[in-house]
């Protein structure tokens, strides 16, 4: 079955305060969404990410590995988390993505994996 990356996008300036009632509510919704994915056999993997400012960029050139601070893309919008799901087709993936958008309250991108 095809796999899709369902990623969550937002401004990277977001507050990582998970104690607010709103964040608590979203966390509960996302938890319920995860349960639904697992029950349907669509779950492969998922993770919420630390802010993009915590990222390190690593390159290899001529056997030399170099590192630089910061996310690869210098854009305001960054990926805040993702799911990898396995489902029958695009329409099913988009339906899951709609549920992910509702649960997280964020903008979602769907992208198919090779294979």
């Amino acid at each position: 079955m095809p796999q899709y990356l369902i990623s969550v996008w937002h401004d990277d300036t977001y507050e990582t305060d998970f104690s607010t009632p709103d964040a608590q509510r979203r966390a509960a919704q996302v938890g319920a969404f995860n349960e639904e994915l697992i029950k349907a056999g669509a779950w492969v993997f998922a993770a919420g990410l630390h802010p993009a400012s915590s990222a390190t960029v690593v390159r290899s050139s001529g056997g030399e590995v170099s590192m630089t601070d910061g996310p690869y893309a210098e854009t305001k919008e960054q990926m805040g988390g993702f799911w990898v799901i396995e489902t029958s087709d695009l329409d099913a993936a988009l339906e899951w993505a709609g549920k992910a958008a509702a649960a997280s309250g964020e903008t979602i991108e769907v992208r198919p994996a090779h294979g």
Binding site: D89, L90, D91, A93, V110, P112
Partner: protein, 414 residues
């Protein structure tokens, strides 16, 4: 070309391609096979005569060609239906890799064309890609014809269509008619894409000629096919009625000197009575069903215009009522704009401007008809300077030279 073969091509290509996509599970392979079958027909039919069922002949020939190609491919690699790309709900031929079993699937199924319409107008595709795919796969237009119609370089159009096909393929888009739950939204996307083709033909968004008949004709043809395939969908009927009623005014929209003529000023004796008759019949059929939708309501507005023997006898109260209904059913800035214009006709330009003031101007900032309509109402209430500014903005936003000339004349008359 208006040869008999060309006529058959226009009629059958979309249907054959739709079936071959289901049989082969691959858009490109289906297109190539159908093109090849028509090439064989062009060579054989002049000698043997046109077969009694040309569409069936083309489909079978295309299928056989594709099987030959796949056999050759499968001897090179191990891949039997290597090119099987789109998932097919009802047929599942990918669970059935015996190539000969393809015979079982080759019958032309009416649903194939529907499947293809829903695939081409998939909401994951941009509107211009949807339109390109529909014209390429369902209407059988060549890449250069589509590019010419949309006034973009052929390479641009080709890239757009190739990218759209690749997206559908990479995303494992299904070849199916959406289920009842998703049908209303998905059907609306199909209708909107067909209407976009029609409006592009009706008022070319750029270029020298105001109307591009071919696109409107194709859109109406697609609309008819859709109504045949979904006879119980009132919105499909509404779309066809709307297109026919708009099309009925084509001859009257452009004056002898090539300038644009407003609805109010059109010579109504030049309206096509046959199209109006058909459009009215469809609108009445919609009313009997009593499941109103945006296309049906817009068709009803067009029907009210068509029923008026002169501009002065237009039943504007009926039109305002219809726009009230449209704004309640599917609120949008454009619907609110049209409602305001109708209110101006019914209650005068000041009332129209009051209604316009209810719309957030930012939502229509780049919408030329908003500035043109507002400028007209401002001029009629004597607010000349504001009207001039409005026309300036409308002219700035117009890419069609004939429409631009019209607006410039309106502005000059102030």
């Amino acid at each position: 070309m208006t040869s008999p073969l060309n006529e058959i091509f226009r009629r059958e290509a979309g249907r054959c391609t739709a079936t071959l996509i289901r049989v082969l599970g691959d858009i490109d392979l289906a297109e190539d096979a159908v093109a090849e079958a028509f090439a064989v027909a062009a060579e054989q039919w002049p000698k043997t005569g046109t077969p009694p069922n040309p569409g069936g002949w083309i489909t079978t020939t295309a299928r056989n060609r594709a099987i030959d190609w796949l056999r050759r491919e499968s001897t090179r690699g191990e891949r039997h239906l290597a090119a099987h790309r789109l998932r097919i709900d009802s047929m599942e031929p990918d669970h059935n890799p015996e190539l000969d079993r393809l015979d079982d699937f080759v019958d032309i199924v009416a649903d194939d064309q529907l499947r293809l319409m829903f695939l081409c107008a998939h909401p994951a595709l941009a509107a211009d890609a949807q339109v390109g795919l529909i014209l390429r796969l369902l209407a059988g237009l060549s890449m250069s014809e589509i590019a010419t119609a949309f006034l973009v370089p052929e390479a641009t159009m080709a890239q757009r269509i190739v990218r759209a096909k690749r997206k559908l393929h990479d995303n494992h888009a299904s070849y199916r008619v959406p289920g009842a739950g998703e049908l209303p939204a998905r059907l609306h996307a199909v209708l909107a894409a067909i209407y976009l083709i029609f409006t592009e033909g009706h008022t070319a968004t750029s270029g020298q000629t105001l109307t591009r008949t071919d696109l409107s004709t194709e859109a109406i043809r697609l609309g008819r096919t859709l109504v045949e395939l979904m006879p119980d969908e009132p919105e499909a009927i509404g779309l066809l009625a709307l297109m026919l009623l708009s099309e009925s005014r084509r001859a009257a929209r452009v004056a002898a000197d090539g300038t644009m003529v407003r609805l109010t000023d059109q010579d109504r004796t030049r309206w096509d009575r046959t199209l109006i008759g058909e459009g009215h019949e469809l609108v009445r059929a919609c009313l009997r069903r009593n499941q109103p939708g945006p296309f049906q309501i817009q068709a009803a507005v067009a029907a009210v215009h068509a029923a008026a023997p002169a501009a002065e006898s237009t039943d504007w109260s009926q039109i305002v009522a219809l726009y009230d209904q449209l704004c309640a059913l599917r609120p949008s800035p454009v619907a609110a704009l049209n409602r305001s214009v109708a209110i101006a006709e019914l209650h005068g330009p000041t009332a129209g401007l009051d209604a316009l003031a209810q719309i957030d101007p930012a939502s229509l900032e780049n919408y030329q008809p908003y500035h043109a309509a507002r400028a007209d109402l401002l001029a009629r209430t004597g607010r000349r300077d504001e009207a001039v500014a409005g026309y300036d903005r409308a002219i700035e936003l117009t890419t069609n030279s004939i429409e631009r000339d019209f607006l410039a004349r309106q502005r000059a008359a102030l």
